[in-house]
Symmetry: C2
Subunit: 97 residues, 2 copies
DNA sequence: GGCACTATACGCCAATGGCGTCCGAAACTC
DNA sequence: GAGTTTCGGACGCCATTGGCGTATAGTGCC
């Protein structure tokens, strides 16, 4: 199957697990609508580092979102939705000098 | 000249004034880098209401930004930059069901 | 005049942004 | 195997913002 295939499958499994809710110290935390930041990032096959840099989101902020410690506020949610729908265009628009 | 021409000129003047800094109770507040939220919105010829709705930004937040009371945080800045560069695509991506 | 729309100004509080650090897992190099 | 690098989870901390509200003022339309 190759490394990439395996990685991709793991990514999808992680994403699915993530969408379903995370376990925090034995507690299952169900999130009403945890925006699929992680799923978006994984679908683009980027590390937190690269994703954060590409979309100009502070790494710590991205981590907070993915770990469920913080909830993206309204503008951030809109931004994430836009990224989800048009990843390339937005990356271009945001990284362009 | 017509109403639209007049409005457009006023818009530009406002945007310019805005970029230069606002007067607050006699104090001139110079802003290091006030992101041109208002200029972007005016260039799209939208009211605060419409702009906020179109890009899923709470009206009060947009107001705070335009009035210089609050500074958009990093993700919001990236979002605004993206809006500036690709207004239509993003509006579509964000408003689509 | 009265109505609707638009935008400025600002008080308030909980919540987040943004920084930091520490730790463990996985993968590569030597 | 030991060392190194990359990746990501977990969390402490505090200033700042988001998001809500209300009040005021100017404009154009009926």
């Amino acid at each position: 199957m190759g490394r990439f295939g395996k990685e991709l499958i793991e990514s999808m499994q992680q994403a699915a697990k993530h969408a379903a809710g995370r376990k925090v110290r034995g507690l299952r935390v169900s999130r009403v609508e945890l925006p699929d930041v992680k799923a978006i990032r994984l679908s683009l096959r980027m590390s937190q580092h690269h994703f954060a840099a590409a979309y100009r989101i502070p790494l710590s902020t991205l981590k907070n979102w993915e770990q469920g410690r913080r909830m993206p506020d309204a503008p951030a949610l809109a931004y994430l939705l836009a990224i989800k729908r048009r990843p390339k265009e937005i990356m271009e628009a945001v990284t362009r000098p």
